[in-house]
């Protein structure tokens, strides 16, 4: 890469950072420091604003960089990811969004704890929320690192590490100073930037092939060296049955995980009513669906125009396919157009990472302060101090995410996100659905459902080829691999549901009919909603 790319990209990126820091300062100029304001921005966003912010939260670096890279390298098997990412929103829309908005205040644990013995349930749900958030954060950090490695030419270790640290520091600033209001506006700005950037690139790809999608697919298949197999499933997840089960596992995790992601759930609290929450989801399904259709074009475009060897050469996992595509579409490495387009796309990808990271950090700091800290301290403290705890928690989570991000830097971003989704689907979704829909659900059932999904999911990842026993593992030199699949969802999601059921039927305490009535009435009517 030439110096021009770097300068321009860094300039654009600094502009984005400046704008977002400006937003942060502006929205926090007369804040009151209330929990309502910090966690949910006063619940005053409109459905359209929230819809953009939700899609900003969801269209992460994993989709923009990771999925397009997977499509560029493996063709149709990458496309299977985006279908899962999108269909997941139907679960959110049908079963979760409105009911959660009506029942809860700030976090997932609010919904569950309303029916149960509060303390153990809150600690369990808080723990799993933080775990999911940290896994998701690591994926974003890895995305930031590989982007910079490309931008600054080759494999400058130091630059890569400093980027991860820099992104971590910025996210802590956004979250702890600006709270939900700043985070939401950053998401909206980023969603608009990302969508516009994708539209421009998609149009350029289609123009290159004279609007002929058929021609685009054909060239991609030809260039890939796999022929027609590139356009059918099986390149990555075909072969032996382990790989196939791995994909089914991933598919389940993707479609069930979204409804358990803490940073998505917390977005529903930023609008005034359940109806507004529903309409935000409808907006975001429209935006996300459109975006994913474009990533398919971009992925095949990268395969056809850049070619899989070049993509793999720049980053083995394919994370840099889109920036390379932009470079080519603009006119090549030494043209002005290529330089500008590359810089713009790189800056958008950075913005994406920063915004998503801020959203997740906010949600997990809310879990730490509102669920864990509030349950573990001895006396009731003032709400003000809970917000102070949340601000501090943001720093702690930042440090953990930076450390793990430096460790996991060679894994594909989309794959890492798949792991986060699997843990969310195993630990958060069963307890959420049971408490919304099951009359006899008890405290013990709730606690078991969380740990019964969380512990197996994490253990299976630890024993999987991701961590040890294969050349691509985190620790290739040791071998304690006992579980063949990379994604634990296929086993751990049913275990989460099973544990919740088992805990409920074995518990001595009878279910609280009155509290179930309250949850059910509130969830469907919005009575008593804050």
């Amino acid at each position: 890469m030439t110096g021009n790319h770097q300068t321009l990209a860094l300039l654009l990126f600094s502009a984005f950072v400046a704008v977002t820091l400006g937003i942060t300062t502006w929205v926090s100029r007369n804040r009151h420091g209330s929990a309502e304001e910090f966690y949910v921005g006063g619940r005053l966003f409109s459905p359209m604003e929230n819809g953009f912010a939700i899609s900003g939260d969801y269209m992460s670096a994993a989709s923009f960089l990771g999925v397009t890279g997977l499509i560029a390298l493996y063709g149709y098997d990458g496309l299977l990811y985006v279908v899962g990412f999108l269909v997941a929103w139907l679960v959110v829309l049908f079963l979760v969004a409105e009911l959660v908005r009506n029942c809860g205040r700030f976090t997932l644990a609010d919904v569950v704890a309303a029916r149960m013995n509060e303390r153990p349930v809150r600690i369990a749900a808080g723990t799993s929320s933080v775990t999911v958030s940290v896994l998701y954060l690591v994926a974003q950090m890895v995305g930031a690192g590989s982007l910079v490695a490309l931008l600054l030419g080759g494999s400058s270790e130091a630059a890569r590490n400093w980027t991860v640290i820099g992104v971590g520091a910025l996210m802590v600033i956004y979250v702890s100073l600006g709270g939900m209001r700043a985070t939401t506006w950053i998401q909206i700005v980023k969603a608009v930037l990302l969508l516009s950037g994708s539209i421009v690139l998609t149009v350029l790809v289609l123009v290159r092939f004279h609007g002929d999608v058929n021609e685009l697919l054909r060239s991609a298949a030809e260039r890939s060296g796999h022929g027609d197999a590139f356009l059918a499933p099986g390149l990555k997840y075909g072969g032996d049955w382990t790989a196939r089960f791995d994909f089914i596992s991933l598919g389940l995790a993707l479609v069930l995980g979204t409804a358990g992601l803490p940073h998505i759930l917390s977005r529903f609290y930023t609008v005034p009513t359940a109806r507004a929450a529903r309409r935000s989801v409808v907006w975001s399904i429209g935006l996300i669906g459109g975006f994913y259709l474009m990533t398919i074009v971009l992925g095949f475009g990268a395969a056809a125009i850049v070619g899989p060897e070049t993509v793999r050469g720049a980053n083995a996992a394919g994370n840099t396919a889109v920036p390379l595509l932009a470079l080519d579409l603009g006119g090549g490495a030494n043209s002005a157009g290529g330089t500008v387009l590359f810089a713009v796309v790189a800056a958008i990808a950075f913005a994406t990472i920063l915004a998503v990271v801020a959203g997740i950090t906010l949600a997990s700091s809310a879990s730490v302060a509102h669920d864990l800290y509030a349950s573990m301290r001895r006396r009731h403290a003032k709400p003000r101090s809970e917000v102070a705890v949340a601000r501090t928690a943001a720093v702690g989570i930042g440090v953990v995410a930076i450390a793990l991000g430096l460790l996991a830097r060679d894994l594909n971003v989309a794959f890492l996100v798949g792991l986060a989704f699997a843990v969310a689907a195993s630990a958060n979704l069963p307890v959420l659905l049971y408490s919304l829909f099951w009359r006899s659900f008890t405290t013990r059932g709730a606690v078991w459902a969380v740990y019964g999904g969380l512990v197996p999911a994490l253990l299976l990842v630890l024993l999987s080829p991701v961590v040890s026993g294969s050349p691509d593992s985190l620790f290739p030199s040791v071998d304690f691999q006992y579980f063949p699949l990379q994604n634990p969802g296929l086993v751990s999601i049913p275990l989460g549901f099973l544990a919740g059921w088992l805990g409920t039927v074995t518990s001595a305490e009878p279910p609280d009919e009155a509290k179930h009535a309250e949850t059910e009435v509130r969830s469907l009517t919005g009575a008593g909603a804050v």
């Binding site: 409109s46 459905p47 359209m48 149709y76 496309l79 299977l80 279908v83 899962g84 999108l86 269909v87 929103w89 139907l90 679960v91 829309l93 049908f94 079963l95 409105e98 058929n214 697919l217 054909r218 027609d228 197999a229 356009l231 059918a232 499933p233 997840y237 075909g238 196939r244 089960f245 994909f247 598919g251 479609v255 005034p272 009513t273 109806r275 507004a276 529903r278 309409r279 989801v281 409808v282 907006w283 399904i285 429209g286 669906g289 259709l293 398919i296 009919e513 009155a514 009535a517 309250e518 059910e520 009435v521 509130r522 469907l524 009517t525 919005g526 009575a527 008593g528 909603a529 804050v530």
Partner: protein
């Protein structure tokens, strides 16, 4: 909160293209596209009754009005989830177990797998639209009435206790 409810039902509506569009009557249980008939109020059954707020929720839960809202929700959501989940799992399982079938060409470079993938996108958009429409026409008004009734009851119970 009341203030924002007002804003929500009023002026924001027009800038939301997903909201009022496509009111053609498709996907509607009675096929007319008109808002569903109002369900009976929960209030008269409880007026003058004493007890804690927990009892209020139990009473509302047993009321015909609430049962109607709940069954309208479930009658749409349960089959809906069953259909899209089966369709998605079927798609994923077919893609992994029968790649030969998925690779069968349909037109040009487009094969069965591409059609199925785009079909998932299309069905997601359709389900979203149908759900939003069903909720707006069949549930929203009844749920709002129940919300006020429940809050009135809760308030009067709290007042009585004081």
């Amino acid at each position: 909160m009341e203030k924002h409810d007002g804003r929500d039902t009023g002026e924001v509506r027009f800038d939301d293209p997903w909201y009022d569009a496509l009111a053609s009557g498709w996907g509607e249980l009675d096929g007319t596209g008109a808002p569903a008939p109002a369900v009976p109020s929960a209030r008269p059954e409880h007026e003058g009754r004493a007890g804690g707020t927990a009892d209020v929720y139990l009473e509302v839960q047993r009321s015909a009005a609430f049962q109607e809202v709940r069954s309208r929700y479930r009658r749409f959501v349960v089959p809906g989830v069953a259909v899209f989940f089966t369709w998605y799992v079927g798609y994923v399982v077919t893609a992994t177990t029968a790649p030969g079938f998925m690779a069968r060409p349909v037109a040009g470079a487009v094969n069965v797998a591409m059609v199925a993938g785009l079909g998932q996108f299309l069905s997601t958009f359709l389900f979203t639209w149908a759900y939003a429409r069903h909720a707006r026409l069949r549930r929203d008004r009844a749920a709002l009435d129940l919300r006020w009734d429940t809050q009135e009851l809760t308030r009067s119970v709290r007042g009585g206790e004081r």
